[in-house]
Amino acid sequence: MSNAVDEMLELHWLFDMIQTIDVGLVVLNTDFEVELWNGFMENHSGITSSSAKGKSLFSMFEDIPADWLKNKLNNVRSLRTPFYISWEQMPHLFPFTSYRPITSLADKMYQNVTLRPVSHVDGSIKHLCMVIYDVSDIATSKVSLSSVNVKLDYVKRNDMVTGLKNRTSLELAMAKHFLAFQGDSKINNSLILMEIDDLRQFHLEHGYSVGDEVFEKVAELLGESVRVGDFVSRFTSGMFAILLPNVTQTKTEQYCQGLAKRVASTKFGTSKGDIKLTMSFGVAQTSSADKTVEDWLSRADNALFTAQTKGGNCAEGAV
């Protein structure tokens, strides 16, 4: 007699644990009707165990992709092996809200779900168990880590003032084009180096922060003036570079003359009023005489210097 009471008591506390454990437990029969629905499921779904029992899981949650989940549950049953659903493939299988609605980054609960076969006393599989884990903290930290990585990546490649690609990115792109040219010398790649004329005087006159505002506007103008696929970057303070694939040197020089006119006629609006300026341009096309990428770059730099010594506001082609 006391044995039976003990067993009853044991069953009672076992069931109490299933009810209160902070993991979702659902047992389904082979028609996907709920047989067990623990406290975690009750509290997060707002559906009581008594009203869930006997109902099809898919009638209660119409947003769960039924065919997709049935396919997995059927695999669990026929292969008699657990299947796992990661939050990375299906973040919110059940539409539960996050445990910490105020301080958590996640609004909805991210879930890992394990589907397990439950064997009947006769060895057959008549029930399937779903175990639902709340992994919101893991998921949000992974998501925010990867968004930080995306930001870091952007900082590594871009100039923070103008948003243009930075010099490191330019050098990488040049190296790629240089290699392509070495493989096939019919590919014409032109590099334009350009700088604001009398940069030192420009900074003395306007100050560095207004200077930055101007550079931002120059970057905009350059961005508008190129084709898709052309590479615009900020080289150093007032110096910019454009990499034009598949263009001859003559065409590039003509393009620079046009650009010089456009810059000279533009009023660059800043917080201290409109500012006018001119720029000089040096053009160098990939040449078989260049042994390294630096050779190519320094020919463009020399051409730019020639343009500047001629008084600026003009374009020069490298020899």
């Binding site: 695999n75 026929s78 292969l79 092996t81 657990p82 299947f83 796992y84 990661s86 990375e88 493939q89």
Partner: protein, 337 residues
């Protein structure tokens, strides 16, 4: 002259196991071969009545051996004893002339019944007369030998589950067992080609005294065909690839570990599988916590799906601390009664 029986298996553990399981009242001389080529040599020289043949072996596997036997019109009857329990594997060996198929590890009763069915032994005969072995198999078995054999059986079970799910035939290799320094791990895994990128899922398993990680590593070129096999429609992206990784890992790793656990007579607790990396170079897959574990017992199995460009490596990594327990649990394989 007594009947001659040949046991052909690359695993010394399996050879010994099987020879112990033959009915003691069956007066036979037992010969052994380590692979198909050796078996064919023996078949030519000796008058062998029956051969027990494994399927997954180096040099010449079971299928090739059966083919050669047909070509050479050898009369020896063959019973295949294999861990590869895919329905197609069984059908293939039968069509190649094998008279029966026993799944590894076979029991005494199964062997007796099979031998009876094919008329090799008569009804129960209790007169004791031990059989003689020509090759002395009283050699030492290492942990590697034992682990290779249980992995072989588990590999076959897992392949059979995946084969059933996908309706394909899975090509099975000989499992590779090695004790490795962690620094050697990547090299030993044999991933070459700088440009190859991999995706991997890891799942942890723990039982009393044993801890292991099961890694499933896919080469990126496997994804298109894997999507086809799993009936996945739509364009592949990172999320749908996680779906494929999870499904294949569930179907392959779970049954493998279950079959392993049954043979070791233990139960494992399992963790939820975790995506280790997607489209990364192999040295980025396994690099964390390098310092924490010095040595690992690694079992590597390459599964390939016939007629599809899908191949994946299942790698079991046991911690160094697990080795003693494993040795203990596996000792039954080689113990004499």
């Amino acid at each position: 002259m007594s009947t001659k029986v040949l046991i052909c298996d690359d695993s010394s553990v399996a050879r010994k196991q099987l020879s112990k399981l033959l009915p003691v009242d069956w007066t036979v001389t037992i010969l052994f071969a380590e692979h198909g080529a050796q078996a064919l040599d023996i078949l030519e020289k000796e008058n062998i009545s029956l051969m027990f043949l494994d399927l997954n072996m180096p040099i010449l596997d079971g299928y090739q051996t059966l083919e050669k036997m047909q070509q050479q019109q050898l009369e020896t009857k063959v019973i295949v004893v294999s861990g590869d329990v895919q329905a197609q594997a069984i059908a293939r060996v039968k069509s190649l002339g094998a008279i029966d198929f026993l799944k590894k590890p076979a029991t005494k009763d199964q062997i007796r019944t099979t031998l009876k069915n094919h008329g090799f032994i008569a009804e129960e005969n209790t007169s004791e007369s031990a059989h003689l072995s020509l090759t002395d198999e009283g050699l030492q078995f290492s942990l590697n030998d034992c682990l290779q054999e249980v992995s072989n059986v588990a590999m076959g079970r897992a392949a059979s589950v995946l084969a059933d799910m996908l309706g394909v035939f899975i090509k099975l290799p000989v499992p590779n067992v090695n004790m490795l320094e962690v620094s050697e791990l990547q090299m030993a895994l044999g991933y070459n080609g700088e440009s190859n990128r991999y995706s991997a899922v890891s799942q942890g398993f723990v039982a009393s005294g044993i801890a292991l990680e099961a890694l499933l590593v896919f080469s990126d070129s496997s994804f298109p065909d894997m999507a086809k096999l799993l009936g996945y429609q739509g364009k592949l992206n990172k999320n749908s690839e996680v779906e494929l990784l999870m499904d294949v890992s569930s179907a392959l790793v779970g049954p493998f570990i279950l079959a392993l656990a049954r043979q070791l007579n233990i139960d494992f607790s399992d963790s939820h599988p975790v995506v280790l990396g997607q489209h990364v170079k192999n040295d980025h897959l396994i690099n964390a916590k390098k310092a924490a574990w010095k040595k690992t017992l690694a079992v590597e199995i390459t599964y390939e799906v016939e007629n599809y460009q899908v191949s994946c490596d299942l790698i079991l990594l046991f911690t160094e601390e697990s080795v003693a327990t494993l040795e203990n649990l596996l000792s039954y394989l080689t113990e004499d009664e």
